[in-house]
C-alpha cells in the first residue's frame, strides 16, 4: 500500500514531537525541529510521489472500512495542502528558532503548540470523515489560540479570548450540522454522504450551519472581527502560520463539503451569497488595511481581504460549465497556495522591518529602504503576489479566476478582481512610499539575524515562482478532485 507509513507519520510525528517537546528542557525544545522537519519533508514528498505514481488513494485507519472506521483521503487536493503546510511551517519554524531566542523562556511553549498545530492541520487535509474533521478543527483551533496567547500581554490575551470564542462557536455550529447529517444519512464518511445526500430541509439546514461555522473560523467578512487583533498582535512566526495556513483549514473543509454534496444539494443562491460576502471582504479588508498605521495590522487586514478572493470559488463552480468550474478550481487553489506563501513572507518580512526600526508603526519606516533593502525586497515580492501582478502566483490565480468568471458569464466578479487588485496595491505601496521617503538621516536600524531575512525571502520568492511553474502543481491538485474532471 502506498504511503503506508508516510501518511500516518504526517500527523503521528508532529503529535509525538509535541509531547516530547514538553518533556525536554526548554532550551532543547527548538532543537527538535532538526529531527522533525527532515522527517516531515520526507513524508510529504513520499506522499506526493505516491500520488504521482499511483494516483489518489484512500487510507483506511485501523483497516476498517468507512463508515465503520475512519478513512483518510490522499488525493491531489490533500497532498497539495500537505506540501504547502510542510513548506510554510518548516520555514516558519526555522524563522521562529532564531526569532524566539530573544524572547522570554515562556515563548518556548511555541514549539509544542507548533507541533500540535501541524498535526491538526495535516489531520484536516487528510480527513474524509466529517466528525474527524471536527476533532481536527479543535486541535488546530486550540493550538492556534494558544499561540496567540503566548505573548501574555493584555492585548494578546484579549485577542486570544476573542479568537477562542469565535472558534468555539464556529465548531459548535459545525458539530450541529454534522449531527443533523448523521441523523439524516447515518454516515460520517464523505463518500457515503456524496451517495446518500439529497436535497431536503435537513440537508439545507445542516449545510447552512456548517457554512456559518466555517465562515466564522475562516473570518470571512462580516465575521472577521476576531482576526486582525489575533493575527496582527501575535509573535511574528505565529502570525505567519495563522494567516498563511490556519484560516485555510476551515475554508478547505467548506470547499470539500461543497463539492461532496454536489450541485443537486448546494443552492446557487448560497453560492452567489458567498461570493458577495467574498467581494465585501475584498473591499472592506482592503480599505481597512489601507487605513492601518500599524504594519502588522495592515498585513492582518490584508488577510481579511484576500480570504474574499477564495470565496469566489463557490459562485464559479456552482451550475457553471465544466470548463469554468475547472478554471475556478485551479484559480482558487492557486490563490490559496500563493496567498499562503506570500502572506507568510509578508508577515515575516514585516516582522524583520519591525525588528529593524524597533517600532510597529508604518510611519517609522521612513528611509528604511536604505538600511534593510532585503527585508523590503521580500516584502515587495510578496506584495506583488498579493496585488496579483505578474509574474507571481497571485497573478496566475487571478488570471484563472478572471477566465472562469468570463466563461461562466458572471462578469460582476471581474469588478471585484479589478478593484481588489487596486486596493491591495494601495496598501502595499503605502508601506513602500514610507520606506522610500528620505527622512532625518539617523541610522536607527538594527540588523536582524540573516536567517530571518533569508527565510522571508525564500517564501516570497516561492510565491513568485509558483506562478511561473503552476502547470505541474495544478495538475497534481486536480488528481482525484471531486469536480469530475480528468
Amino acid at each position: 500500500m502506498i504511503g503506508l507509513w508516510s501518511v500516518p507519520l504526517l500527523f503521528a510525528l508532529p503529535l509525538a514531537l509535541g509531547i516530547l517537546s514538553l518533556l525536554v528542557a526548554p532550551a532543547w525544545r527548538a532543537r527538535l525541529i532538526f529531527i522533525g522537519l527532515p522527517l516531515l519533508v520526507a513524508a510529504s514528498l513520499d506522499v506526493l510521489a505516491g500520488l504521482a505514481t499511483a494516483g489518489p488513494q484512500v487510507y483506511r485507519l485501523g483497516d476498517w472500512i468507512a463508515p465503520l472506521g475512519i478513512n483518510l483521503v490522499v488525493d491531489g487536493l490533500a497532498v497539495g495542502m500537505i506540501l504547502m503546510t510542510t513548506l510554510v511551517a518548516s520555514l516558519s519554524a526555522l524563522y521562529a528558532r532564531v526569532y524566539l531566542r530573544d524572547h522570554p523562556p515562556a515563548s518556548s511553549f511555541f514549539w509544542p503548540l507548533l507541533w500540535f498545530l501541524w498535526a491538526g492541520m495535516n489531520g484536516i487535509w487528510l480527513a474524509e470523515d466529517i466528525f474527524n474533521l471536527y476533532v481536527g478543527l479543535e486541535v488546530m483551533g486550540l493550538a492556534a489560540v494558544g499561540m496567540v496567547a503566548l505573548r501574555a500581554t493584555p492585548q494578546a490575551l484579549a485577542a486570544a479570548m476573542r479568537y477562542l470564542l469565535a472558534a468555539l462557536l464556529g465548531s459548535l455550529a459545525y458539530l450541529l450540522g454534522v449531527a443533523l447529517l448523521y441523523g439524516a444519512y447515518g454516515t460520517l464518511s464523505m463518500a457515503g454522504l456524496q451517495e446518500a445526500a439529497t436535497n431536503n430541509a435537513t440537508t439545507q439546514v445542516a449545510l447552512a450551519l456548517i457554512i456559518l461555522g466555517l465562515l466564522l473560523k475562516t473570518a470571512l467578512f462580516p465575521l472577521h472581527a476576531w482576526l486582525p487583533p489575533a493575527h496582527g498582535g501575535a509573535l511574528t512566526p505565529v502570525s505567519a502560520l495563522l494567516s498563511a495556513l490556519v484560516i485555510k483549514g476551515s475554508f478547505y473543509i467548506l470547499m470539500r463539503l461543497w463539492l461532496v454534496l454536489g450541485p443537486e444539494v448546494t443552492p446557487e443562491l448560497t453560492a452567489q451569497l458567498l461570493g458577495v460576502l467574498g467581494a465585501g471582504a475584498v473591499f472592506f479588508g482592503g480599505w481597512m488595511a489601507w487605513r492601518q498605521h500599524h504594519l502588522k495590522q495592515l498585513v492582518a487586514y490584508s488577510t481579511v481581504a484576500q480570504i474574499g478572493y477564495l470565496f469566489l470559488f463557490f459562485p464559479l463552480v456552482t451550475n457553471t460549465s465544466p470548463e469554468a468550474a475547472r478554471l475556478a478550481w485551479d484559480g482558487t487553489l492557486m490563490m490559496l497556495v500563493a496567498h499562503a506563501l506570500a502572506k507568510a513572507a509578508l508577515f515575516l518580512s514585516a516582522g524583520n522591518l519591525i525588528l529593524a526600526v524597533g517600532s510597529p508603526q508604518i510611519s517609522h519606516l521612513v528611509g528604511i529602504s536604505r538600511f534593510r533593502p532585503m527585508s523590503l525586497f521580500s516584502f515587495g515580492l510578496a506584495g506583488v503576489s498579493l496585488m496579483g501582478l505578474p509574474p507571481s502566483g497571485g497573478f496566475t490565480a487571478k488570471w484563472l479566476l478572471l477566465h472562469s468568471a468570463i466563461l461562466s458569464g458572471q462578469w460582476w466578479w471581474l469588478i471585484v478582481l479589478f478593484l481588489g487588485g487596486l486596493l491591495s496595491a494601495a496598501y502595499i505601496f503605502k508601506v513602500f512610499r514610507m520606506s522610500f521617503r528620505e527622512g532625518p538621516q539617523i541610522d536607527r536600524s538594527v540588523t536582524p539575524p540573516l536567517t530571518l531575512d533569508v527565510v522571508a525571502l525564500v517564501l516570497a520568492a516561492s510565491a513568485i515562482v509558483i506562478g511561473l511553474f503552476a502547470h505541474l502543481p495544478l495538475h497534481w491538485l486536480r488528481m482525484g478532485s471531486m469536480l469530475g474532471m480528468g
Binding site: P373, G380, W399, I406, A425, G467, H471
Partner: protein, 498 residues
C-alpha cells in the same frame, strides 16, 4: 530545447542576473557594481547583435514553456521585436555609463541600478514576448520596476509623482489584463502572428472584439501617454535624468506604443483592424495627442518638462503610423520608434548635463550655454533638428513616410496634423537653440560638477555624443542596410505580405 531558444533567455538573463547581483552588493562596492553593470550591458548588446543577424537571415528564435494549461510563456525574436530589443540594449549601455557618472556619490545607488537593470529586463521581455500573456507579464513588471526609480529621490514631490504613476499604470494594466483574458476566452492562447489571428472569429463577436480592443488600447495608451492618459509622464520628470532618459523616453512609453503595434499587427491584424473600423479613431486619438503635447510643451519653462510633453507628442507619431492603413505609413511609424528613441534620449542626456554641470533646469536660464558647453549643445541641436524634422535628420524621414502613408491611406487630414505639429515643434525647440547659441550668458551658473578634461564629466558627455551621432546617422545613412528605415521596411514586408 535548442540553443536558439536559450539565447533569448540569455538576453533576458543578462539584465535579470545583473539586477540580482547588484541588489545583493553592498552600497560601497562601487567598482564591482560598475563592472557588473557594464559587462551585462555589453554582453547583452553582443547577444542581441547575434540575434539581429539571425533574424535578418530568417532564423527562428523561440523559447516556450507551459505555465498553466492553455497558457504558454513564449519568447520569440521576430523583426519587430528585435528592433525594440536592439534599441533598448543599445541605449541601456549608454544610459548605464551616463548614470554611473550622474549618480556619483548619490545615495541608494545599489537600489537604483538594481531596479534599473530590472527595467531593462522587462523592456526586453516586452519586446521578445511571443504572446499576449508573456507581454502582459513583462508589461506589469515594467510598472513595478520603474516605480522605485520614479520615487528614487524620496522627496514629497517624487513620492507624489510615483503615486500618480501607479494609479495610471496599474489601472491601465488591469484594463489590459481584462482585454487579454477576454481574448483568451474567445480564441485561446493569443500568440503574436503576422496578420493577426482574430479574423476567423464569428462576426457576431465583432462588437465584443471592438470593446476588447478599446480596453487594450487604453491599457497600453497609459504607458504610451496617449491623451488624456499622459498626465503621469510630465510628473515623473522629478526622477533623476538617466531615468527620464531611458525609461520615460524609451522604455516605458515605447512599451506602450510597441504594445499597440503588436495588438494591431499581430493580434487583430492590420486588415482586420481596418475592417472593424478601429484604425480611424486610433489615428484621431494619436493626432489629438500630437497637437496637444506640442501645445503644452510650448508653455513649459522647465527643460525636462518641455521634453516630456514633446515625448507625449512624439510617441503618438508611432501610434499614428500604426493606424495608417498601408505599408508606407507603417514604415514611418515603426521607424520613428527608433528615431524618436535616439533623438529623445540625446535631448534628455543634454538636459541632464546642463542640470548637473551648470545647475540649470529652466530654459530661461540657458542663455549662452553653447559657449560654455559646446559639445553638449551641438548634441542638443542635432536632437532638436531631428525632432522638428529638418532634412536630412532622422525625424524628417519619419515624417516623410508618415505623410506619404497618410495620402496612401486616404487620410489627407493627417498631413495637416503633421505640418502643424512640425511648426509647433519648431516653435518650442528653436527658442531654446536661440538662447543657447545666440544669447549672452546673463547670470552666474552654480557649477555643480568639478570639470574634467571636457566641458563636463566624460561619463556624461560620451553617451550624449554617441547617441547624437547615432541619431544623425539614422537620418543621413537611412539608405544603408540595418538602418532604422531598412529594418522597418523588413518588418513591414513580412507583416503585409502575409
Amino acid at each position: 530545447m535548442d540553443w536558439n531558444g536559450l539565447i533569448l533567455l540569455g538576453v533576458l538573463a543578462t539584465s535579470l542576473v545583473a539586477s540580482g547581483v547588484i541588489f545583493l552588493l553592498a552600497e560601497s562596492r562601487l567598482v564591482m557594481r560598475t563592472v557588473v553593470n557594464l559587462a551585462a550591458a555589453v554582453l547583452k548588446l553582443l547577444l542581441v547583435g547575434w540575434i539581429i543577424w539571425g533574424v535578418y537571415q530568417a532564423v527562428e528564435y523561440e523559447f516556450r514553456f507551459t505555465i498553466i494549461e492553455g497558457v504558454d510563456f513564449i519568447l520569440r525574436a521576430d523583426a519587430l521585436g528585435i528592433m525594440f530589443v536592439g534599441l533598448s540594449s543599445l541605449l541601456w549601455l549608454f544610459t548605464t555609463i551616463y548614470a554611473i557618472g550622474y549618480l556619483e556619490k548619490a545615495p541608494n545607488r545599489s537600489r537604483f541600478f538594481g531596479f534599473f537593470s530590472l527595467c531593462v529586463a522587462s523592456t526586453v521581455g516586452i519586446a521578445l514576448a511571443g504572446n499576449l500573456f508573456t507581454f502582459l507579464l513583462f508589461y506589469e513588471l515594467l510598472t513595478l520596476s520603474t516605480y522605485p526609480l520614479v520615487v528614487h529621490r524620496g522627496t514629497r514631490e517624487s513620492l507624489r509623482a510615483g503615486q500618480v504613476y501607479l494609479y495610471f499604470t496599474l489601472g491601465g494594466g488591469a484594463l489590459l489584463l481584462f482585454g487579454v483574458v477576454a481574448l483568451h476566452v474567445l480564441i485561446g492562447d493569443t500568440e503574436f502572428v503576422p496578420g493577426g489571428s482574430l479574423a476567423v472569429l464569428d462576426p457576431s463577436l465583432h462588437p465584443m472584439l471592438i470593446i476588447i480592443f478599446l480596453m487594450m488600447v487604453i491599457g497600453l495608451g497609459v504607458k504610451a501617454a496617449l491623451f488624456p492618459l499622459h498626465a503621469w509622464l510630465p510628473m515623473a520628470m522629478v526622477a533623476p535624468a538617466p531615468v527620464s532618459a531611458l525609461l520615460h523616453a524609451v522604455a516605458v512609453v515605447k512599451a506602450g506604443a510597441f504594445g499597440i503595434a503588436r495588438v494591431v499587427y499581430d493580434v487583430y491584424g492590420i486588415e482586420f483592424s481596418q475592417s472593424l473600423g478601429l484604425l480611424g479613431p486610433l489615428a484621431v486619438a494619436a493626432s489629438i495627442t500630437i497637437i496637444y503635447g506640442s501645445l503644452r510643451a510650448l508653455a513649459q519653462d522647465d527643460l525636462k518638462k518641455r521634453l516630456a510633453f514633446s515625448t507625449v507628442s512624439q510617441v503618438s507619431y508611432i501610434v499614428l503610423g500604426i493606424s495608417l492603413f498601408g505599408p508606407v505609413g507603417a514604415v514611418g511609424g515603426l521607424m520613428h520608434l527608433l528615431h524618436q528613441g535616439l533623438m529623445k534620449i540625446t535631448l534628455f542626456f543634454c538636459a541632464g548635463n546642463y542640470a548637473e554641470t551648470l545647475g540649470v533646469h529652466k530654459i530661461s536660464e540657458l542663455d549662452g550655454a553653447g559657449e560654455r558647453m559646446p559639445a553638449t549643445s551641438v548634441a542638443f541641436t542635432l536632437g532638436a533638428f531631428g525632432m522638428i524634422g529638418i532634412p536630412p535628420m532622422a525625424g524628417f524621414i519619419s515624417k516623410w513616410y508618415l505623410g506619404i502613408g497618410a495620402l496612401e491611406a486616404q487620410m489627407n487630414w493627417v498631413l495637416g496634423v503633421l505640418i502643424i505639429s512640425s511648426l509647433l515643434n519648431a516653435a518650442y525647440f528653436l527658442p531654446i537653440l536661440y538662447r543657447i547659441w545666440f544669447r549672452k550668458r546673463d547670470r552666474l551658473w552654480c557649477e555643480g560638477k568639478v570639470l574634467g578634461r571636457f566641458e563636463t564629466q566624460g561619463s556624461l558627455l560620451i553617451p550624449t555624443l554617441a547617441t547624437a551621432a547615432f541619431a544623425l546617422a539614422a537620418g543621413v545613412l537611412a539608405g544603408m542596410p540595418f538602418s532604422p528605415l531598412y529594418w522597418a521596411d523588413l518588418i513591414v514586408s513580412r507583416e503585409y505580405l502575409q
